[in-house]
């Protein structure tokens, strides 16, 4: 009896330690992400406070009093824990703009400010609270970044990713099937050459591609970039699909053929449906590769930049706008994370069967 209890306690302690360990790992992985998400919601004023507030504020508290040049606007500073004066002006329009752009409150009209000022006749100071527009940084990023190019660039990046998936899955999938099902001369050499393709720096391919694409009329066009991105993702697709098709028993295909199906029918009716999860994982890699790529996009675009180029430029020029850079970075990370979420099971399966 006591022995059994002893074992239970030991087991429980072991399990608790394990979960504490896993939680620790999760915190280490997600902490940097937490901060950039939080930063992307901070107002411009708070983004430059030190230490940074740990949570974005939902409301901003104001204090209004008579000032030397007009009205003295103070704002409650969460880091210092007190009201700090930020503006002394008679220009109510300026005050309204300041509240919106520097503090990220939802727009406040001049009439509303006048209403608050009216209270100053009876009291020394007026306190009031405004809700914040949490998405303000994102709105500004999409309006301002790349001089209004952000949204067209976003759509263009999606278009490029879709074409990359199509090209690499169709061309790479075919070769992957050949590797899995046939013995042929040069098979090994080809398999390793698929790896070698990744050994030549992407930058160095992009530069000669300027001329090659220009000759084809694809320079500064989305299709041009998809052609470049497919080089990397075809290599991976061949590799992954080969292992997927190997995992599908040949006996299934043979059975179908016994019942009179042709080779092509067998492939489309039996093999392809079974391989779909793995192909989805390949599609995800192709998407991430195309969506995330920056260098070739910088070299191969002029007037039609991709979204990654816009974000890269915002980050590089972010000296004055860390919260904008954070918002841009997050706007870019979100589709990648969502895509990963939907395909997480397949990636996991896929790695199991993939070896050099």
């Amino acid at each position: 009896m006591t022995k059994k209890k002893h074992i239970n306690i030991y087991k429980a302690a072991k399990r608790t330690t394990f979960y504490i360990f896993v939680t620790g790992v999760i915190i280490a992985m997600l902490l940097p992400l937490y901060f950039i998400v939080s930063l992307s919601f901070l107002s411009t004023r708070e983004a430059y406070r030190y230490p940074l507030p740990l949570l974005p504020a939902l409301n901003t508290k104001f204090e209004l009093a008579h000032g030397e040049r007009g009205y003295l606007l103070s704002v409650y500073d969460r880091v210092a824990g007190e009201y700090q004066s930020v503006l002394d002006t008679a220009d109510l329009e300026k005050m309204s703009v300041y509240m919106k752009s520097q503090l990220g409150t939802i727009p406040i009209t001049i009439e509303e400010i006048e209403q608050q000022i009216a209270k100053l006749e009876t009291q020394e100071v007026v306190h009031f609270t405004r809700r914040r527009n949490l998405l303000y940084n994102y709105q500004v990023f999409f309006r301002v970044a790349g001089t209004g190019q952000a949204i067209p660039a976003l759509l263009r990046s999606l278009e490029i990713a879709a074409m990359t998936i199509l090209i690499s899955l169709s061309i790479g999938g075919m070769a992957g099937y050949a590797f899995a099902r046939y013995m042929f001369k040069g098979r090994d050499a080809l398999k390793f050459s698929v790896l070698f393709v990744r050994m030549f720096p992407g930058v160095s391919i992009a530069l000669p591609m300027v001329i090659i694409l220009a000759n084809m009329g694809f320079y500064d066009e989305p299709i041009g970039l998809s052609l470049v991105y497919s080089v990397g993702s075809i290599a991976l697709t061949v590799w992954i699909t080969a292992s997927i098709f190997m995992g599908i028993p040949v006996s299934l295909e043979e059975a179908a053929q016994v019942f009179g199906a042709t080779k092509l029918q067998t492939f489309f009716r039996i093999t392809l449906p079974l391989a779909l999860p793995g192909l989805a994982a390949c599609a995800m890699y192709a998407f991430l590769g195309a969506w995330n790529e920056t260098v070739a996009a910088i070299i191969l675009t002029v007037f039609k930049p991709t979204f990654s180029v816009i974000v890269y430029q915002t980050v590089l020029g972010a000296v004055g706008q860390v919260n904008l850079a954070a918002a841009g970075g997050m706007a870019m990370a979100l589709p990648a994370i969502i895509f990963t979420f939907f395909l997480r099971r397949y990636i996991n399966q896929m790695w199991g069967g993939m070896t050099v």
Binding site: S230, A326, A336
Partner: protein
């Protein structure tokens, strides 16, 4: 004839595609490495590269990053994978969370570390809240010596890479039948002997995959370096290629330098990858499998 041609027909599109969009630019780029501005054969480009003041630092920095980051990432990921290798409540979600650092776009990751590592950034803020930094004190992360910057880059790279290597290793571990390990214990092995004699040897193909992919991309590290430190501050090999193609474009010499560096980088990557595959026995194993 018919049946025999099928695999070749299936592989043909890849071969053609690589001919047009990989081999052709590679040839142009390699030829660029061996020609001067007027199109004549020369080895002068490499002399110029070797004589550039940033060449030796670039080689050294790249080597340090590759050796330390691949070792650290592999050992860290292996330790994590061995500790986590079991089904537990929420393990699926845990794996998804581990995929996020890998899925994060380079520009977004850059934004994250740039905003974190400035003196008033979130890393110092966090250290302050945790009580590690006294009030008014700040650590100037990006103003340190070369050695500390390299250490910083290795840690940042490890954050992004360890979870994904861990996923690969976990998948490999789950393919090892439980019985083989149990047999090891039955014959009197302790945890370490079973790990050394059974688990690791059976995991070898997975380890090879993970390490070779890491080696290839670790040698080509550059974007995070530039986003954090700008060009020429901490030269690495591919950063030099981008520097000469993007930053000082238009000069004859810059194209020659970029081509020279390109060839050197590709040569290093291929040699390292081949050496690793040879030493780890991947070639031999592949032959055994196909027989």
């Amino acid at each position: 004839m018919g049946e025999k041609a099928v695999p070749y027909l299936l592989v043909l599109p890849v071969v053609l595609y690589y001919g047009a969009f990989w081999l052709r630019p590679v040839i142009v780029s390699v030829m660029g490495g061996f020609t001067d501005a007027s199109g004549h054969f020369t080895l002068q480009n490499f002399v110029m590269v070797f004589n550039e003041e940033n060449f030796m630092p670039a080689v050294r920095n790249t080597a340090v990053i590759v050796v330390f980051s691949v070792t650290l990432e592999f050992l860290g990921a292996l330790a994590l994978a061995l500790l986590i290798n079991r089904k537990f409540v929420g393990s699926g979600f845990f794996l998804f969370l581990s995929m996020i650092p890998m899925a994060l776009p380079a520009a977004a990751a850059g934004a994250m570390w740039v905003t974190g590592l400035t003196a008033h950034g979130w890393i110092n803020s966090l250290l302050y809240y945790l009580g590690f930094l006294a009030e008014g004190k700040k650590i100037y992360w990006l103003a340190g010596s070369q050695a500390s910057l390299l250490a910083l880059l290795i840690v940042i790279d490890a954050w992004q890479v360890i979870p994904s290597v861990m996923i690969i290793l976990l998948a490999g571990l789950q393919n090892i039948p439980e019985e083989t390990k149990e047999a090891g214990y039955v014959f009197g092995g302790n945890y370490l002997t079973v790990l050394r004699k059974i688990t690791l040897p059976m995991l070898k193909p997975t380890i090879q995959t993970a390490v070779i992919l890491r080696l290839i991309s670790a040698i080509q590290i550059w974007l995070i370096v530039v986003l954090l430190l700008g060009f020429s501050r901490l030269p690495v090999l591919v950063e030099r290629v981008v520097f000469y193609t993007k930053e000082v474009r238009g000069l004859d010499i810059s194209y020659q330098m970029a081509s020279g560096y390109t060839i050197i980088v590709s040569l290093i990557v291929s040699l390292v990858a081949l050496a690793y595959l040879q030493v780890s026995g991947a070639f031999k194993r592949d032959k055994e499998q196909t027989v």
